[in-house]
């Protein structure tokens, strides 16, 4: 065994580090479960603590926190229909539909098992292929990013519940909202109606909490949902078999699903890793693309389930968003270019501990043990997620039994405070309110909400990459000149024209 690996094992499995990992996991689960609190915020809060800790423990804390946080985001997604993270918005309808049928343990169990699977495969990709894959990041310029953004947005519009035109309408609304404020492309205020406070635009977190959470509270007030009762509640069972029942409840369907669909797991992880590895493209695009691919691969009758409680859909999307986390570390470690906002903070921490990321990081005997520790932590964190996530799921399961007149006020308060906590801004609370009313109206007319959020997140990027590309080359043909851009562009066209293409293919095509 190489010396570096030995050092890494010693450092990672030191009692102090393990304790830090355990604490960060709990912290991550907690943050993820509260709507409005993001992994980025949590990492920023953790940075002062990393000064106390040695480099391995500090980075291990961040890795673990991130992995647990993105899983925990599925808990409010399923139980309260409020996506904990933007990537959960891809399958919020499915997860919540299962909760309404008293199958929340199944939904969360599937989410947990496939999150862990996705995380482990993503970590494997990071370990095995980081330097080779990092080079792909250098092939991505504004043309490629433009098509990637468009692909993510198109997937969201096309596969959302309801007709494609409503999906596109929802997308258009999201894009329009993203135009509010001072964009980086032109540097002038747009659609602000003279209000200086609108110059910062409408943030995606207030929008997400408003569209999903607030509108759900409104809906619930108007049409009370029947209180779900736990089906198999037998309090007098001895401890061992109670655990067995609990495990069966949570993981039963998940294991079956895993055995059945290993090929899909591979596809989703691949999508997640590849998209996550591109700087600036992350879990949200990965989740939507994976969900879309998953839906398109299914038979007609399976497709009808998507949006109504499809376990397959949840599984594929959540695999992708977890494997994208490890992917984001590829450019961060190998190139020093952050893959997402969390790795941007991590690079700062690495620099401070004199561990400069760069292409030679794997050849340097001083930095190599830390890299190996990061790999080990990814694996460890995902494995740790199984028992801890299981506890969180069981705990979360109790939430659905809380009476309506207690849980709705609490959800409302969490919506308000979660929004307020981002920037301590009252204006954000008003934004959340406005978006909540918008969400309620959209749902009334059966317009899906997911594409709105993705439109708000990616709208600016889409416009920016479009203008950047045009500024560089002044012609629309340039969008297809570079090979990867051409590939992505054609994929986009296929997504748009799929109904036409499908009608030419022979009927009765199987998965």
């Amino acid at each position: 065994m190489s010396e570096a690996l030995q050092t890494a094992l010693q450092n990672t499995f030191a009692p102090g580090t393990l304790l830090v990992i355990l604490l960060s996991a709990s912290f991550g689960l907690f943050i993820g479960a509260i709507p409005g609190l993001t992994a980025t915020m949590a990492v920023a809060l953790m940075v002062p603590f990393t000064f106390f800790l040695d480099p391995v423990a500090g980075i291990a804390a961040i890795v673990t926190m991130e992995a647990c946080c993105i899983f925990a985001g599925d808990i409010p997604t399923a139980l309260m229909r409020i996506p904990g993270t933007p990537s959960s918005a891809a399958y919020v309808d499915d997860a919540y539909a299962l909760t309404q049928r008293s199958q929340h343990q199944t939904a969360l169990g599937v989410s947990l098992l496939f999150s862990v699977t996705g995380g482990l495969i993503g970590a494997l990709v990071l370990i095995v292929a980081a330097p080779q894959l990092a080079r792909i990041a250098f092939e991505f310029s504004s043309y490629e990013y433009f098509w990637l953004c468009l692909l993510g947005l198109s997937c969201a519009a096309v596969v959302s519940r309801g007709s494609v035109s409503k999906g596109m309408l929802s997308l258009a609304v999201g894009l329009l909202i993203s135009c509010i404020g001072i964009g980086s492309t032109h540097g002038v205020p747009r659609l602000t109606l003279g209000f200086e406070q609108l110059e910062s635009g409408i943030g995606f977190i207030p929008a997400m909490i408003g569209l999903f959470g607030f509108s759900e509270v409104l809906r619930n007030v108007l049409n009370p949902v029947a209180q779900s009762t736990s089906v198999s509640h037998t309090p007098k069972e001895p401890a061992a078999s109670w655990l067995g029942t609990a495990i069966r409840e949570v993981f039963g369907t998940a294991f079956v699903q895993l055995r059945r669909s290993f090929g899909r797991v591979m596809t989703s992880s691949a999508i997640g890793s590849l998209i996550g590895m591109l700087p600036g493209a992350g879990a949200d695009i990965a989740a939507w693309v994976s969900y879309a691919v998953s839906k398109r691969r299914s038979t007609e009758e399976q497709q009808a389930e998507y949006g109504q409680g499809s376990v397959q859909g949840i599984a594929d999307a959540t695999t992708a968003n977890n494997s994208s986390l490890a992917g984001a570390w590829i450019p961060a470690l190998i190139l020093g270019i952050p893959g997402d906002s969390v790795t941007a903070i991590v690079i700062g921490v690495l620099l401070m501990k004199n561990l400069t990321p760069g292409p030679d990081i794997l050849q340097d005997p001083e930095r190599l043990p830390v890299v190996y520790s990061i790999y080990l932590t990814f694996v460890l964190a995902n494995l740790l997620l199984i028992p801890l996530g299981f506890l969180a799921v069981r705990l979360g399961g109790q939430i659905v039994r809380i009476p309506r007149h207690v849980i709705l006020p609490m959800i409302l308060m969490f919506c308000i405070v979660g929004t307020f906590a981002i920037k301590s801004s009252y204006f954000d609370v008003y934004c959340m309110l406005a978006m909540g009313i918008l969400g309620f109206l959209l749902e009334r007319f059966q317009v899906p909400l997911g594409p709105v959020v993705l439109g708000i997140i990616l709208g600016g990027r889409l416009e920016e990459t479009f203008v950047q590309s045009l500024t560089k080359s002044d012609s629309l043909f340039a969008f297809f000149e570079r090979p990867i851009a051409a590939l992505l562009g054609i994929t986009c066209l296929i997504v748009w024209l799929w109904p036409v293409i499908a009608s030419f293919l022979p009927r009765g095509r199987d998965v």
Binding site: I182, E199, L351
Partner: protein, 471 residues
């Protein structure tokens, strides 16, 4: 509910009642236990830029050292947006009581020239500037441009061909590059500026061959510079950087161009803050920047050196003079005619919103046609469900209107009345509207508001408003 169930509910409720009584008492005591001396409650530090960036890192470090010095929590808020407008406004238009500190950056000198806000450096009481990172130009290692001389020649021979990026249009680094071009009597358009959201995406674009030059500060490009993937051809400073590993970077001045532009960062408070408060803050800041304050065996200067940030610091009047000078230089730049034409790109600012509106209109029509044929399912479903469940529609409607009302009430009242009172009010009111029992509603109101308060202020370092009674 059956008797057995009701019994089960009562027992935990009694325990919760006792607990809430204790919580209430504790809160009352906390509210009373407060000294009159400044500072006696948490301070907010506003940062106009996103988490992970240079300004955010400096802000969070500074917050740590200030906590040590002042003895109260200092919470950083990333009030991002509007290319700096949001953060600077939030910091400088807050109540001048010394409990909001503003991390200010170069954008304070440019925003008002661009017409984004009326706020400028004269709206603050300058406390201490913390650093001045000069702008620098980077190219790929294999680029034929190896010095400023090469760059000037290329610009002369082939104006308009080179592309550069580093930040948004008309933001700091764009001004740096354009200003340099103007100083050598070339129009700013000679190097096409590709706007981006920051230095990280620009550096990526550089590496992928999409652009030729990146203009940003050295700390932002450190990793790629150290790994020799990119080269720095010049820094816009009067003197070389003294930090380890960066001493070899040549200045513009050494290479024959006398152009300097440095992004600066500094702390200020809103105008009208009491002089004693300012004095206290300046004294603490002085101790921090000179390295007297130690946290975790490290001083602030040591941290800045480690990350490669410049650490030139200026106190109050010196800082004010510096801001005035910078304001003048940038104002001259931004008001020049050649600059006005830089703004327009291939696609105007309203193109994208118009496109989106068009798409929305098309989709609305297409789906509208679909909707007219079959009656709206959701509307039909709603009316039938409210009849079948037999709920009193009147109460639901009141609650329905109450939800937005409660939210607006929070936004309007929380700052004056205080978080705990408003939160308790909302929880109580909403629970009662949903036909809860009085006791449950009270318990929910007390425990819920206290619990949320402790979690957010204690664990997550979010500043929640304190109003009457110190809650």
């Amino acid at each position: 509910m059956s008797d057995a169930n009701r019994m089960k509910c009562r027992l935990p409720t009694n325990a919760i009642c006792t607990l809430s009584g204790m919580v209430l008492t504790a809160l009352l005591l906390t509210g009373c236990r407060r000294s009159v001396e400044y500072p006696n409650r948490p301070i907010t530090l506003t940062c106009p830029w996103a988490a992970g960036g240079g300004t955010d890192r400096v802000s969070r470090q500074m917050a740590m050292y200030l906590e040590q010095e002042l003895g109260v929590p200092v919470n950083v808020i990333n009030a991002t947006g509007g290319q700096g407008v949001t953060g600077h406004s939030r910091g400088l238009l807050a109540a001048p009581d010394g409990y909001t500190l503003a991390m200010m950056t170069l954008e304070l000198n440019t925003m008002h020239w661009r017409g984004l806000t009326n706020l400028d450096w004269q709206d603050c009481e300058p406390l201490m500037s913390l650093n001045e990172d000069p702008a620098a130009l980077f190219v790929r290692s294999e680029s034929p441009i190896r010095s400023m001389k090469d760059l000037e020649e290329t610009v002369h021979e082939r104006p308009g061909e080179l592309t550069a990026s580093g930040t948004a249009s008309l933001a700091a680094w764009h001004l740096a590059l354009a200003g340099w071009l103007l100083s050598i009597d070339r129009p700013p358009g000679d190097i096409a500026w590709i706007p981006s959201q920051g230095s990280a995406p620009s550096l990526q674009e550089l590496m992928s061959g999409g652009i030729d030059i990146v203009c940003c500060s050295v700390p932002e490009a450190r990793s790629l510079l150290d790994s020799r993937s990119i080269r720095c051809i010049g820094i816009m400073s009067d003197e070389r950087i003294t930090q380890e590993g960066l001493e070899h970077l040549e200045t513009f001045r050494e290479q024959g161009t006398d152009w300097i532009l440095k992004g600066w960062r500094g702390l200020g408070v809103p105008k009208g803050t009491p002089p004693e408060v300012q004095e206290r803050l300046v004294t603490s800041l002085r101790r921090i920047v000179t390295g007297e304050t130690i946290v975790n065996d490290q001083s602030f200067p040591a941290y800045m050196d480690g990350e490669g940030f410049d650490r030139t610091w200026r106190e109050t009047d010196d800082f004010a003079a510096f801001m005035q000078e910078t304001d003048q230089v940038l104002g001259d730049l931004l008001t020049r005619d050649e600059f006005k034409e830089v703004k327009s790109g291939p696609v105007g600012p309203l193109a994208f919103p118009l496109l989106a509106s068009g798409l929305a209109a098309v989709c609305l029509t297409v789906s509208g046609i679909g909707r007219l044929r079959a009656p709206s399912d959701s509307l039909a479903m709603n009316t039938t469900s409210s009849h079948t469940t037999g709920q009193q529609p009147a109460v639901s409607r009141v609650a329905f209107v109450a939800v937005p009302a409660f939210t607006a009430a929070y936004a309007l009242l929380a700052n004056t009345v205080g978080f705990i009172i408003v939160a308790a009010g909302i929880l109580f009111g909403f629970a009662m509207l949903l036909k809860s029992r009085l006791r449950t509603a009270v318990v929910l109101a007390v425990c819920g508001s206290a619990g949320i308060y402790q979690v957010f202020t204690g664990l997550l370092r979010v500043t929640l408003p304190i109003g009457w009674f110190g809650w």
